[in-house]
């Protein structure tokens, strides 16, 4: 009886120490699932998901506060990838979310720009270059097309343009068969 109690106590102490050590030694900083979700998101930082940026949205998905179909720039591909990662059922995209959104970049009409710097402050990825009372311009290769610079502009000189199709980024179309009706 006594020996059994001693053995069990010893065992419990040893395992407890191992667990305690492991908890400190292999501590995971942050939530790895948030990182995984974040890496699937398009990083436009546009806030169309109602969260202020991609990482907060990833956090919200991880906490089961948000649905996986709230990312319009990611479209269907992102939604399916998220469903795959989280093992949940795919959700239909809302009516305003297209299945394959067109990629766009912002363009500043330089004749109209008054150099107010409001767009520079709004850009989440620092893709707008300029200074107070100097003309601003968008660094096209870094613009994510989030459209956050459009509302603050007091003179409406920012427009969204589709990304220029070049042979470099051209994609073969999906084979489509045209059906002919025979009468």
């Amino acid at each position: 009886m006594l020996s059994a109690i001693i053995v069990l106590t010893l065992l419990a102490t040893v395992f407890g120490l191992i667990l305690g050590f492991a908890a400190i030694r292999f501590k995971v900083e942050g939530d790895p699932i948030v990182d995984q979700i974040d890496s699937l998101l398009p990083q436009t930082q546009c806030g169309q998901c109602t969260y202020p940026g991609c990482r907060p949205y990833a956090q919200a998905i991880a906490n089961a506060e948000a649905n996986i179909n709230q990312c319009p720039p990611g479209g269907e591909t992102t939604m399916l990838a998220l469903a795959d990662l989280l093992g949940v059922d795919p959700l239909p995209l809302g009516a305003e979310h297209q299945a394959e959104p067109e990629a766009t970049v912002a363009f500043i009409i330089e004749d109209t720009c008054i150099g107010c710097t409001l767009c520079i402050q709004a850009c989440p990825v620092d893709a707008i270059l300029g200074a107070a009372k100097q003309m601003h311009t968008v660094i096209e290769s870094e613009c994510t097309g989030c459209e956050l610079c459009i509302p603050p502009c007091p003179v409406d000189c920012i427009i969204m343009q589709p990304v220029k199709q070049e042979t470099r980024n051209w994609k073969w179309p999906y084979p489509v068969q045209t059906l002919e009706l025979r009468k």
Partner: protein, 525 residues
């Protein structure tokens, strides 16, 4: 000694349709007034223009220099004036526009004086030869257009056992290499010798398909005339024997694993046309400014033509003569791997080996009927020369399940079109594979872009935080300074108060003394 040949799995026998074009010698074309030279005529980064609008250029003068390691320069194909540097439609399946330099010919066709002919390539070291070839803008003329100097580079640890010249030309209708071998065999052999010198290759073999006996004979007589050691091997006529890996397998029985280069297996393959271009670059000092192109199909004068780069398909076809009413499609490249042009106003470039004009009478090689459902017959897997499973690739590409498609080695597909050709349901398999490949590339690019955006966004957050912290620190410092100032003021005030208190006290004492002295006499009285 008769070389033992090997057989790769798959492949299809096609009727070659080469007679119409291969019976005529190579013809010259009239120089057009306007030449459009795209900055990208090769695999790799586009060249960057080094001439400006209005500048006079001479034939063979470099007008765009290579930009980056994998790139090739562009040279003026004739003398004249640069009239425009802008976007024009280029021969590309997308039909998109790309930057081009437009030269208006002055009709003199005057050479620039940069030519340095060399009789014996052994004057140069292999490095110098590579540099010359690079400078001359030589790219693979078999169709892919990979810069040739890169394929003439051997690492320090590598040895090239066999240098293979590819004269198989397996695609139907095309006969430009055939004619080149027949007429310019000596140039090809001399170019091969230069390549051998650059690669320090032990042996040279030229593979020619059996359906070109005249070409093989011409090469053999050139070899005996030049007294060099080169073996000409006739390989069976089978599509796609002209594929790099297929020809290596046939001639050496070596298989090149996925994602490895032939040089890792001590073999290098170059096209016969490239050898002739290398000869011109090194021995004549002429850059790559023209090539031989096959015009086949529904034209009045089918044959092979030596074209200056930049001539448009319309200008060339006008000289060859086509009946525009009956033309169905104009295919750039061969019938198996080429693509239809949607406009004739495209320039012909370094990789243009054939223009195939089809009309309703042209025997269709690939069915254009409506695709039916896959019946899982497996014919595609039987003919695939890479041992892939086109059927599996098709299902996954169709379902846009690109990860699975990659598991089935999608990127090893050479898009030869054998599976398309044999499919009894006429499924455009290669189109699905191309769609899948380019979609994967785009997704990778998007991913890179997203990572960059994330990095920038995180840095911005960090910067805003830092600015806030700095502002706070500044405020704190200012507040402390003000406080310090206040402390000093308090001291002064205190001192003043103390002084005033002292004065007051003194005054009081004096008053007290005065009143005391005043009362004294009163007391006395």
């Amino acid at each position: 000694m008769i070389r033992q040949l090997f057989r790769y799995k798959g492949g299809v026998k096609l009727s070659d349709h080469k007679q119409e074009s291969s019976s005529q010698p190579i013809q010259k074309v009239t120089l057009p007034k306007r030449l459009i030279l795209p900055l990208q005529q090769h695999i790799g980064a586009p060249a960057s223009a080094i001439v400006s609008v209005g500048e006079r250029v001479l034939k063979g003068q470099m007008i765009a220099k290579s930009d980056g390691h994998i790139s090739a320069p562009v040279h003026a194909s004739t003398s004249g004036r640069v009239v425009e540097i802008t976007d024009f439609a280029i021969p590309h399946p997308s039909g998109l526009k790309a930057p081009c330099i437009v030269i208006e010919s002055d009709g003199n066709d005057a050479w620039c004086d940069h030519r340095k002919p060399v009789d014996d390539c052994h004057h140069y070291t292999p490095e110098q030869i590579r540099e010359h070839i690079r400078h001359a803008g030589v790219v693979g003329l078999g169709g892919a257009g990979f810069p040739s100097f890169l394929k003439l580079t051997v690492g320090s640890e590598r040895v090239v056992e066999t240098l293979i010249l590819n004269g198989a030309e397996c695609e139907p209708f095309i006969s430009c290499d055939d004619r080149l071998m027949r007429e310019r065999a000596e140039e090809i052999i001399k170019g091969l010798m230069v390549m051998q010198h650059a690669l320090v290759a032990k042996a040279c073999v030229i593979g020619v398909e059996e359906n070109k006996p005249e070409a093989a004979a011409a090469l053999r007589s050139a070899i005996s005339a030049l007294a060099v050691e080169v073996e000409v091997v006739e390989v069976p006529t089978l599509y796609p024997t002209g594929g790099e890996k297929q020809l290596i397998k046939i001639l050496t029985n070596k298989e090149i694993p996925p994602k490895t280069l032939p040089i890792e297996k001590r073999v290098v393959v170059h096209n016969v046309g490239t050898a002739a271009a290398v000869y011109r670059a090194i021995c004549l000092g002429e850059p790559l400014i023209s090539r031989v192109i096959t015009i086949a199909g529904a034209v009045k004068k089918p044959g092979n033509y030596e074209i200056p780069f930049g001539i448009s398909a319309a200008q060339l076809l006008e000289q060859v003569g086509i009946e525009e009413e009956s033309v169905e499609r104009i295919i750039h490249g061969g019938p198996m791997m080429g693509f239809a042009l949607n406009t004739l106003d495209v320039p012909l470039i370094k990789t243009s080996n054939c223009l195939l004009v089809t009309d309703p009478n042209t025997v269709p090689l690939r069915n254009k009927q409506l695709a039916l459902a896959c019946i899982r017959c497996g014919s595609c897997a039987d003919v695939c020369p890479i041992n892939l499973l086109p059927q599996q690739l098709y299902w996954h590409s169709r379902a846009k399940d690109f990860d699975k498609a990659q598991d089935y080695n999608l990127f090893d597909c050479i898009e030869c079109g054998c599976c398309d050709y044999v499919c009894p349901s006429q499924i455009p398999l290669v189109q699905y594979f191309r769609f899948a490949k380019t979609s994967i590339w785009q997704a990778e690019q998007d991913k890179k872009q997203a990572e960059l955006a994330k990095e920038r966004h995180e840095f911005r957050q960090f910067r805003i935080e830092r600015e806030k912290a700095e502002k706070k620190a500044r405020h704190k410092a200012k507040a402390a300074k003000v406080a310090a100032k206040n402390v000093g003021a308090d001291d002064k005030k205190k001192a003043i108060e103390e002084a005033m208190a002292r004065v007051k006290a003194k005054k009081q004492q004096q008053e007290a003394n005065v009143s005391a002295s005043k009362t004294e006499p009163g007391d006395n009285t």
